[in-house]
């Protein structure tokens, strides 16, 4: 992978096309997370903080191993621990590394009004450019995974970059590098999907996980982070992984039909009043109506009229 991966395929709030759209023969990158071999060691959490130099934040204890309830603006990578009771009454400790999914159809980017604040590179990475961010938080409404987080001090939104700075130098993301069990993999989307399917087949055929499968949700055009799950029919059990994530319909309605309806109405309204003026002209009081008032009132003095409230 070369510097060319920094060519931009899609730009938020941008008038006109993106410079890298359809130009390069680049392959998509992908992170594979095999939840079945994760041991919850949190090396990935630490590696993320270290590589990105993020400020430290308070952890919270809620009777589990989980560091905090959800990712934060300065904590982009969080393992979600879930005690799942199976139908036969046995417990299963599900551990899922939560971070940005780098959607092929990113809801954050669609919702963002600021030119260039969110970009999607040709390699599939969705990256926030905080110097262009205006802090409106629309990306938080567009994301179906609850990933973008607002920093009250910087007044900007932050999230996982998929270590774009490492990837463009031919390195794998920091979390991948740190994983001791090999449950994290990084490569092209095609390779990772093959590896994931192979593992899911192995889980189904040899390990007794009949519902094992790969999580690559089509509702957001697929993601550049895919999971292998023991039970792909119940992703919610893995700390609220949505079953069928999609961009909220109100965001889609706002960004497409309402936008066109509004633009047509706006231009139509301006054109309408202009044409009215050309056709009918102004309302002008005829001079012969400008006669002084008749009757008793004109005989009174010149006191000012009662103003405002009686």
């Amino acid at each position: 992978m070369s510097q060319a991966t920094l060519e931009i395929r899609r730009i938020s709030g941008h008038a006109g096309p993106a410079p890298g759209d359809g130009v390069r023969r680049e392959f998509d990158v992908c992170k594979l997370i095999d939840t079945t071999t994760c041991i919850g060691c949190k090396a990935c959490e630490v590696a993320c903080l270290e590589w990105n130099g993020l400020s430290f934040s308070e952890t919270t204890f809620d009777n589990s191993y989980q560091t905090m309830p959800e990712t934060q603006w300065n904590y982009w990578n969080l393992i979600k621990f879930n005690e799942h009771e199976r139908e036969d009454g046995t417990l299963q400790l599900l551990m899922r590394k939560d971070q940005c999914m780098h959607c092929e159809e990113p809801g954050c980017l669609v919702a963002c009004p600021a030119d260039g604040a969110i970009v999607q590179y040709v390699n599939g990475i969705v990256d926030f450019q905080q110097d262009h961010c205006i802090g409106c938080g629309y990306c938080m409404s567009g994301c179906p995974f609850n990933i973008p987080k607002f920093s009250p001090t910087a007044r900007k939104v932050f999230k996982c970059t998929l270590c774009v700075d490492r990837v463009t130098q031919g390195l794998e993301p920091a979390c991948i590098k740190s994983c001791p069990t090999g449950c994290l993999h990084f490569g092209t989307k095609t390779e990772m999907k093959q590896l994931a399917e192979t593992r899911a087949t192995q889980l189904r055929d040899q390990s007794g996980f009949a519902n094992a499968g790969v999580y690559d949700p089509p509702g957001v055009g697929g993601t550049h982070v895919v999971y292998v799950l023991h039970d792909a029919t119940n992703p919610e059990a893995y700390g609220g992984l949505p079953r069928n994530p999609h961009i909220p319909w109100t965001v889609k309605l706002w960004k497409s039909p309402l936008k066109w309806l509004g633009n047509i109405a706006f231009i139509g309204g301006l054109a309408g009043v202009f044409v009215h003026y050309l056709r009918f002209g102004p309302k002008i009081v005829p001079p012969d109506e400008e006669t002084p008032p008749q009757g008793p009132e004109s005989s009174r003095g010149n006191e000012p009229q009662q103003r405002g409230k009686p």
């Binding site: 938080m140 409404s141 109100t250 965001v251 009174r300």
Partner: protein
């Protein structure tokens, strides 16, 4: 307090200083809100934010100016709310609206201080203002909305622009009629007075009440 409605200059006072001040408080804050809002509405209009100090400044100030507009709207409700109530003559006005559009004002029924169109403008802005306030508060602090209340955000992102579009439609008509179309109307909201002929022609019920020294309904 006796009074003739006729000012020393031979004209009729239509809007008091207080009314004009509140109108322009609302007008100036609305124009700022509309222009910065349009900058966030479309990438093709994003440049407008540059005129107001950039998009980050616009995002920070837009909600505060929105509060100014809300205060001005509440003051207008206090000033004009009762006068904006619908009356029988309003229905006759709407039936005669084709005449009004064609400037055949002799065939338009007499109006009180505000005609039916002005009442529509007022209540349109009022109810859209409430929607804009409610959705705007959510959009002001999206990071304070927890994930399980995210539907509030989904509601706000569609309601805010939809209500704003309705007000822009009203705004275009209002500005057109107040400046280019109805000669004399703009002066009434700047200097406060209108000619006798103007008052008689467009708001005869109000004018006749003034002549009979009946204060306008508050």
């Amino acid at each position: 307090m006796s009074a003739t409605p006729i000012l020393p200059n031979g004209r009729v006072l239509r809007y008091s200083f207080h009314e004009r001040l509140v109108h322009w408080l609302a007008a100036i804050s609305y124009v700022y809100l509309m222009l910065t809002g349009l900058a966030f509405w479309s990438p093709w209009l994003f440049w407008i934010a540059t005129l107001f100090g950039g998009a980050t400044v616009s995002r920070e100030l837009h909600p505060w100016v929105g509060l100014v507009f809300v205060i001005a709207t509440i003051m207008m409700l206090d000033m004009w709310g009762r006068q904006m109530r619908e009356t029988e003559s309003d229905k006759a006005f709407w039936r005669a609206i084709p005449h009004y559009i064609r400037n055949e004002d002799e065939q338009v029924p007499s109006a009180d201080r505000f005609n039916a169109g002005q009442k529509m403008l007022f209540w349109g802005f009022f109810w859209c203002g409430i929607l804009l306030l409610l959705s705007g508060l959510i959009l002001w602090f999206p990071h304070l909305i927890p994930w399980n209340l995210r539907y509030l955000r989904y509601f706000a992102v569609i309601v805010h622009p939809a209500a704003a579009l309705l007000t822009i439609g009203l705004f275009i008509i209002h500005v057109y009629m107040g400046t280019a179309m109805e000669r004399g109307a703009f002066g009434s909201v700047i200097r406060g007075d209108v000619s006798v002929g103007w008052a008689r022609r467009y708001h005869r019920i109000w004018y006749e009440h003034l002549l009979r020294n009946v204060p306008a309904k508050k």
